[in-house]
């Protein structure tokens, strides 16, 4: 009987192979009193030496088979292994309490694991895994047991494990390891990230795979849907073999599109851009064929710290993004904070209605000094690329004019001070408040470009908090009300010869793309992983055919009607 296990989709694709259970040996330790603490300490040293030898071998493997950054993980492990604050206290414990090395090590390491896990920082939480991994390795040597090594596997398998440690994952040879399933972990855990790098299908957080899958059972891993099928029937197997073939074909086709322009069947060209949250995200956008940055959220510079970022820090971040983009259009959104996103050092008063309160441009115009620092950093960075700046949450023309005046004032000051500034910086705005969409014809005369922020535009048009699950039925990207507003914005921009883009989730939604293309959207900005799919989608559409359907779509009476009309007509 086939069984299905639901988990978290960690890395796309289909894997079909026999299960290999990666079991970690029992490393239980007991407290034992030792007579000769010196000898016990020496035993610990030997175990550490042996562990060091193994880690050096794995580090070498990682740098040869993977990348320097994977090898760095093991450099960090080696540092932990020789950490005076770890080994010192362990030896001290052996001496003062006359206990065995296993117990002293476990107790000391658990203290660090608990400390790192309690920190409110993803990176630090990952460090807890490092300490655990290193401790296990030393313990195995102390206890005289062998750790199973995935590098030794020499047949096509799907690995089933409770969790994969970083040292397990670098030993995964994609030639043999077809996919893996773990009981714990999330989309951003180390094993999930590595699976995507190696392009191995993976499902994590399955909770029960270890309990349900036996060695040698045929397993299907659907890393796209986050599903594991154990002991599939012949019919299921056939269906998934076909799915696997189609997936491989699709991937190959998508890769060919990386350096292609984005053009519809009838030759209409648009721009596909990426949304990023930090300079480190640019590489992914370029790898996936992004033609620009449609939204650089600058909040990361301000969050998770105890004071404002300096002008220089911001300058470095903006410069890094612009340089990496090598002259491609790069839209930076000025600080969008307030409401639910708090900065501890800003002391914002609590508001009854944060989403309708002092956030984004409203806050920046209130806290003008803070705003000026960001604008100066942007102006200075502008000479390193093609910078476009947009202001979030603009509701009235007056707000845009005030923001622009502050910008021009800082620009003039810098120029007078002899600081080089680009003279082709474009100034635009996010359209995410219905009042701005309705007045788009007026705005279009004054801005250089629009970027429609659909997530907020939908929430404000429907007056429904998009985080409230009970109201999720009102979050309707296809509602004719929302579509009419979008159309107004695009038309208004075009009448003034300006560009209209979109940076909400809708821009990367394959169902929405035909409508947006038909309405004449110029730039679609989305997460990097959606870009190639969008390019393929657009290549199969005719702009003029879609354009001819827009009047009818806008005359429909509900989001459901729009959706089914689009599905039928394509």
């Amino acid at each position: 009987m086939e069984q299905r296990i639901k988990g978290i989709a960690a890395s796309g694709g289909i894997a079909i192979a026999k299960a290999f259970r990666l079991e970690h040996p029992d490393l239980q330790t007991e407290q034992v009193t030792v007579a000769d603490a010196e000898a016990e300490s020496a035993r610990l040293d030997r175990a550490i030496d042996a562990a060091r030898g193994e880690l050096e071998t794995i580090r070498k493997q990682a740098s040869e088979q993977l990348s320097q950054s994977e090898a760095d993980i093991f450099s960090a492990h080696l540092l932990v292994l020789d950490d005076p604050e770890l080994i010192g206290p362990v030896k001290e414990k052996i001496r003062s309490e006359q206990v065995n090395a296993e117990h002293a090590l476990k107790q000391t390491a658990d203290g660090f694991v608990a400390l790192f896990e309690s920190m409110d920082n993803e990176y630090m939480k990952e460090r807890a895994a490092d300490v655990r991994d290193v401790t296990k390795r030393i313990l195995a040597h102390l206890l005289g047991v062998t750790l199973q090594s995935p590098a030794m596997i020499r047949e096509q398998t799907v690995i089933i494990a409770e969790d994969l440690t970083p040292s397990d994952t670098v030993q995964l040879n994609p030639e043999y390891i077809q996919g893996f399933v773990t009981d714990i972990g999330g989309r951003t855990s180390h094993s999930a990230i590595l699976a995507r790098t190696l392009e191995i299908p993976a499902v994590v957080g399955s909770r029960s795979a270890m309990a349900q899958v036996e060695n040698g059972t045929t397993v299907i891993v659907d890393g796209t849907a986050g599903e594991v099928i154990v002991g599939p029937s012949d019919a299921t197997l056939k269906a998934y073999e076909e799915k696997r073939r189609l997936y491989a074909q699709e991937q190959a086709q998508l890769t060919q599109l990386v350096h292609e322009p984005t053009r519809s069947k009838d030759g209409h060209q648009v721009e596909l851009a990426g949304n990023i949250g930090s300079p480190a995200d640019v590489a992914k956008v370029l790898e996936n064929g992004g033609e620009g940055i449609g939204l650089f959220r600058t909040e990361f510079l301000y969050m998770g710290r105890d004071q404002f970022p300096t002008e220089d820090e911001q300058y470095e971040a903006y410069k890094s993004v612009l340089e990496q983009m090598e002259g491609r259009p790069t839209i930076v959104r000025t600080l969008d904070i307030g409401g639910d996103k708090e900065l501890p050092y800003l002391n914002l008063p609590e508001e009854a209605n944060p989403f309708l309160g002092i956030r984004a441009i409203r806050l920046c115009l209130e806290e003008e000094d803070m705003f000026r620092v960001q604008l100066r950093a942007l102006l200075r960075a502008s000479v390193h690329g093609h910078l476009k700046i947009m202001f979030p949450m603009i509701a009235t023309l007056d707000e845009f004019r005030r923001a622009k005046a502050v910008f021009l004032d800082e620009k003039e000051k810098l120029e007078q001070g002899g600081v080089p500034v680009s003279d082709r910086i474009e100034l635009g705005m996010m359209v995410e408040i219905p009042s701005a969409a309705l007045m788009a014809d007026q705005f279009a005369k004054e801005v250089d470009f629009f970027s429609i922020g659909t997530n907020d535009l939908i929430q404000y048009t429907m007056a429904a908090d998009r985080m409230n699950e009970q109201l999720s039925y009102l979050y309707q990207p296809f509602s004719p009300a929302v579509l009419r507003l979008i159309k107004m914005v695009i038309d208004a921009a075009h009448r003034e010869g300006k560009h209209a883009g979109m940076c909400g989730e809708m821009a990367g939604d394959e169902a929405a793309i035909p409508v947006l293309l038909g309405m004449g959207l110029d730039e679609f900005s989305m997460s990097a992983s959606s870009i190639l799919k969008a390019r393929a989608k657009i290549a199969g559409l005719s702009k003029s055919e879609m354009e001819a359907k827009i009047d009818h779509i806008l005359s429909l009476s509900s989001g459901e009607e729009v959706r089914s009309y689009i599905e039928q007509s394509l």
Partner: protein, 88 residues
Amino acid sequence: MVEKQYTISASEGLHARPTSLLVGSLAPFSSDITLIYKDKSVNMKSILGVMSLGVASGATITVKAEGADETEAIAKIDEVMKSEGLAG
């Protein structure tokens, strides 16, 4: 004894991988090297010690070195802080 202050400019603070390089570069020195942040001080040759402080971007830290090669140790810290973009 040599003492020096740094303001951490790396956007991730003393969390990410450059910190490992910083700590790793200190192993050859015989001097005692201490990192002080807020009112806590840790052995700067200990990666676990340094990371347990949770030094955020923008924070000011003090580094103290004491021993035969204290000047060289601080020079090394200067060099790595700059080359890894941890502090200006």
